[in-house]
Amino acid sequence: MPRLLFAAAALAAVCASLAPAAAETLILSLSTHRVAITSTYTGSSIVVFGAIERDERTVARAAPYDVVITVRGPRRTTIVREKERVGPLWLNTSQRRFVDLPTYLAVLSSRPIDEIAGGAFLTRYRLGLDMQIATPGMEHLASEEPFREALLRLKNDQGLFTEEPRGVTFLTPSIFRAPITLPAVAPTGNYDVEVALFVDGAQLARQTTNFEVVKTGFEQATVTLAHDHAIFYGLGVVAMAVLFGWLATIIFRRD
């Protein structure tokens, strides 16, 4: 029994020492949890609102809060191919597979990430774009490097991998907002939003929420028909083509 008591006391002591870290809680709200793709969809923007709630017993921090938001889209396998010269031709010769890679990644922060936390923390908390696409154990493989760079560059061109070092704006010292931009090519599916709170390079709290991108109405009906009733979909497209072609002969008939 005394041993148990001792253990309980030790646990309490540990908890007490951790208490300052648990003193802040994050309250999150997204402007929407559902992005609907309609026929005029050209991408979208979602706003993350956050409030930092501080325990009454906790003293005010000397340093300002820092926030890092990481958004991860649905995971798929992405293949990066490289063209090389073969005789007179340029052909795809080598490729690297990035298995289960988020199709969309956005890292937004209140100031540049390397100013928020040091290198070891970036790895530990998996912060920043580089950390998201790193395959554990493969980070320093020299042959991987060009493919990782190409992946970041090409995905960035499409607006699918973005880093916004000042994407999080503090409205008051404890309330912040951050707009997440989704390009039209961002795939449908579930998107995770992870918000981490830092002070002086130490993580205080971490909270997640999510939203989904879905096709609706006509777009959804088309995809369902094309996949689940492919033969009817095909017949429908053929019928439409024949109808339009026939209509043209009637409308533009010259003889």
């Binding site: 793709i37 309609t38 026929s39 005029t40 969809y41 050209t42 991408g43 649905p74 798929r76 396998t77 992405t78 293949i79 990066v80 191919r81 490289e82 063209k83 007179p88 031709l89 340029w90 052909l91 795809n92 199709t103 060009p146 493919f147 190409a150 992946l151 560059r153 090409l154 995905k155 039209a184 090519v185 795939p187 449908t188 599916g189 096709k215 006509f218 777009e219 959804q220 088309t222 995809v223 094309a226 996949h227 492919a230 033969i231 979909y233 095909g234 017949l235 497209v237 053929v238 439409m240 083509a241 024949v242 339009f244 072609g245 026939w246 209509l247 043209a248 002969t249 533009f252 003889d255």
Partner: protein, 308 residues
């Protein structure tokens, strides 16, 4: 104004596509070809995934060949018997073509196959057409009358077994070479998103000496049915037909073709063939440049995995 393509999963400018459809439709109306050989490459250059460009283009060619075939039928410039034989061969070719398309797509080599096929096929056909039309132009300028067809003289391949008589086409000979040609056209059509009219028409004229009066109508008849089959098979086996894209291309194409047909009436036969040859060769060269010139971006991305 942008419109979202539900199957291609991308947003495109509606007016760009309508204008492209109209421009290609104009050219196709002018030359009496389907225009797939221009439209599919244009869609690929626009960033539409090649698989979707090829599969969707089949439906656009269906629409334009309905218009064309009906017009020739009304003028009785269509040989149904020869057309039927061509369609039968075309179906076999389309089946093989869609199967090949799906296998290459699974292996991740589809884009390469499409580019190489465009380069070789269009390079060869374009050069042949160019050489032929230049020769004819040179001969007419010097006042030499080209040799007309002499009866009783037959190429060897018409002497093969399974002979048939096609009254309207003034042809009596083996169906083996005809069906073989139709299979090849059907195959190329399904893989490359082309109707193949620009190959079929000269082939019927030069290889089988079919009278020019029925040749275009008959080839449109074959293209219509093989492209209907291709649309269906692509939709059924790889779900790559985008109905919104198809509709935009068809509307643009139908409009353009009407004006093109009017412009084509003022064009002389030989300059007509020269222009078409240059167009075909141009598409082949455009693809060849992609293969030969150092690419600005040597890397490319492909995302695999099932769509939800």
């Amino acid at each position: 104004m942008h419109i979202y393509l539900p199957i291609a999963e991308m947003s495109v400018n509606m007016f760009t596509l309508l204008a492209m459809g109209a421009a290609v439709g104009f050219i196709s109306g002018m030359f009496g070809v389907g225009g797939g050989f221009l439209m599919t490459p244009l869609l690929i250059f626009l960033g539409i995934p090649p698989a979707i460009a090829v599969a969707t283009q089949a439906s656009q060619i269906t629409a334009s060949s309905v218009t064309g075939a009906l017009g020739y039928w009304r003028r009785k410039a269509l040989d149904f018997k020869l057309g039927g034989v061509l369609v039968a061969g075309g179906f076999v070719g389309t089946l093989l073509g869609v199967w090949f398309f799906n296998v290459m797509s699974r292996l991740g080599q589809l884009e390469f196959v499409i580019v190489v096929s465009y380069v070789t096929l269009f390079g060869i056909i374009g050069s042949l057409m160019l050489a032929e039309s230049l020769k004819t132009m040179w001969a007419t300028r010097r006042g030499v009358v080209p040799l007309s067809r002499r009866s009783g003289e037959h190429p060897w391949y018409l002497g093969l077994p399974w002979k048939m008589r096609f009254h309207r086409s003034k042809l009596y000979g083996s169906v083996i070479p005809i069906v073989t040609l139709a299979i090849l056209i059907g195959f190329a059509g399904a893989v490359l998103g082309i109707g193949g009219g620009f190959i079929l028409v000269p082939a019927l004229i030069y290889l089988f000496r079919i009278p020019a009066a029925v040749v275009v109508g008959t080839s449109l008849f074959q293209i219509l049915f093989t492209m209907m089959a291709a649309t269906l098979l692509h939709a059924f086996t790889n779900q790559s037909v985008d109905v919104v894209l198809a509709m935009l291309l068809i509307i643009g194409g139908v409009m353009g073709a009407q004006f093109g047909a009017r412009a084509g009436q003022n064009l002389k036969g030989e300059s007509f063939r020269l222009l078409l040859a240059i167009l075909v060769l141009g598409v082949g060269i455009r693809f060849a440049i992609d293969l030969v010139v150092r690419p600005q971006e040597p890397f490319s991305l492909v995302t695999v995995g099932a769509r939800p």
